[in-house]
Amino acid sequence: MSDALNTSWFDPARVNLLVGLAVFIAFLILNIKRAKGGSNMFIRPLAGLKAVDEAIGRATEMGRPVLYLPGLGDMSEAGTLASIAILGRVARRTAEMGCDLDVPGYDPVATTIMDGAARQAYTEAGRRDAYRPGTVHYVTTQQFAYVAAVSGFMLRERPAANIFMGSFYAESLFLAETGNLTGAIQIAGCDQVTQLPFFVCACDYTLLGEELFAAGAFLGQEPVQLATVAAQDWAKALAAAMVVVSLLASAMGHPELGLLLQTR
């Protein structure tokens, strides 16, 4: 760098981000306290998630596998973190129902982690022996090589349900159309906005954007998990209010408020 080495211990341009983070953590703690205090945490039902049980049930009846696709994000994508939590729930259901599960992995670290999560879910359901090694298996970290392999699996093994949860990119339509051809029930959840239209078109149910992050909490229905969703709602309301207030203020000649949101 041509500028001299930086020796300051705080970046003042980021103080607003720090405040924002503190507020969100405060919302989280408050809501967890509310939940532990016995307040009823309401989350409106997400149709796509109610369908997950139904889809696993149908697969069990037909004696065909459930295909769970964790997305093509790596561990830096929150969508992948959310997908791991959802897989835990889905694996628990397939274990209970005695249905075969197949999870082709894209990111090697996420695959390793999901193998542990699925194994644990089977153990908790009391079906440790039913966990087939290779249920969660690494395919490859090349987008279309992965797509080629998964599409081939869909056409040859004919899973009865395809569950897409995580960060998907250009492959979304390829996989969802192939799945549609095989007649599987398809449920998708994706945090990549540009891919949502394709899932909406080709799947039976689609969780839009942030619904993916609420899904883990919804499936578990544990109060502490639901509290995190409530905290998100509070933050959303605060953000919307800030937008309205600062627009009103700038209309009255005070644009300073909006500048508080500038970051570097």
Binding site: M1, S2, L46, A47, G48, A51, T194, V200, C201, A202
Partner: protein, 291 residues
């Protein structure tokens, strides 16, 4: 179901094998390539802005070009690289070219060969190709300090100090324009580092899907022009008055779009005649948006 009997043709149309659709799309692609009609192309303001930015530079100006895409999306970016390089050559500018993708140098070597041959320019006299360096973001940062640290030799192994035209050119400050043609988040890094931190005028080329995400940077003047996808490249070729692969593809592009739009309309007409438009009617895919 509607009271009237569903028309037979409509039912058959709705059950159309998707392979018929595939054949239609293939024909819509191949026929215009074989028998072009050359539909007129007009340049959008954003591509025009990119063209003008390059066009305004005086002959002899050095331009830093980072071409960052791999073969699987070359369809959108390779014609763009060729058109922009030819523009630089025609205006007598001196592009210094590099890439941050390991599988890209072959493509760029070809683009440089095509463009320099068409405009009669020579390697190491009119342009330099630095090749590939791993580390994306750290390389972009490093270019602000010293090109020679990042790329001690050019693509063909010549030390930079042995190339006369590289004399005295060693960081962003020596380049009045940075051009990045990218199919990934590399574009964000260049905007953040080259355009914002080092305040370099910058032109961006991106894939069509990416392009809309970068509109805000145009209004904030962090980028001075934006070329989006094969269509943007075709507009650039049009402004240059040359014909490259992008312009060759534009008739097919139009026909594919029209075919898909007609298919959608046809599907809905068929649905109407089978009575499927009534509430609760049959037909069409199951839908649910998580509501």
């Amino acid at each position: 179901m509607a009271a009237k009997r569903p028309s037979g043709w409509a039912v058959r149309l709705m059950a159309l094998d998707r392979r018929v659709i595939f054949v239609l799309i293939f024909l819509a692609t191949a026929l215009p390539l074989l028998f072009p009609v050359n539909l007129p192309i007009t340049a959008s303001p954003r591509v025009k802005a990119a063209f003008d930015t390059v066009d305004r530079l005086p002959a002899g100006t050095y331009v830093l070009m980072s071409l960052d895409y791999e073969p699987d999306i070359k369809a959108e970016l390779q014609p763009m690289s060729i058109a922009v390089l030819r523009h630089c050559f025609r205006k007598g500018l001196k592009p210094i070219v590099l890439t941050l993708y390991p599988a890209a140098p072959g493509l760029i070597e070809r683009a440089l060969a095509i463009a320099s041959e068409a405009e009669g320019k020579k390697r190491n006299e009119d342009f330099v190709f630095l090749g590939y360096k791993s580390g994306s973001q750290s390389v972009i940062l490093g270019l602000g300090e010293s090109i020679r640290t990042m790329f001690p030799r050019d693509f063909w192994g010549t030390p930079l100090d042995d190339i006369p035209m590289m004399k005295g050119k060693n960081s962003y400050a020596d380049f009045p324009l940075v051009i990045n043609l990218s199919g990934s988040a590399i574009a964000d890094y260049y905007i953040r580092i080259a355009a914002t931190r080092y305040q370099r005028p910058m032109v961006l080329g991106a894939t069509a899907v990416m392009a809309t995400d970068y509109y805000p940077y145009l209004s904030s003047k962090q980028i001075l022009g934006l070329i989006g996808g094969m269509k943007g490249a075709a507009e650039y070729e049009r402004l240059m008055d040359i014909t490259g692969d992008a312009r060759r593809g534009m008739d097919a592009q139009s026909l594919i779009h029209v075919t898909i739009a007609l298919l959608v309309i046809l599907g809905n007409v068929a649905l109407f005649f089978t009575g499927g438009l009534k509430p609760g009617g049959s037909g069409g895919a199951r839908e649910g948006t998580g509501r």
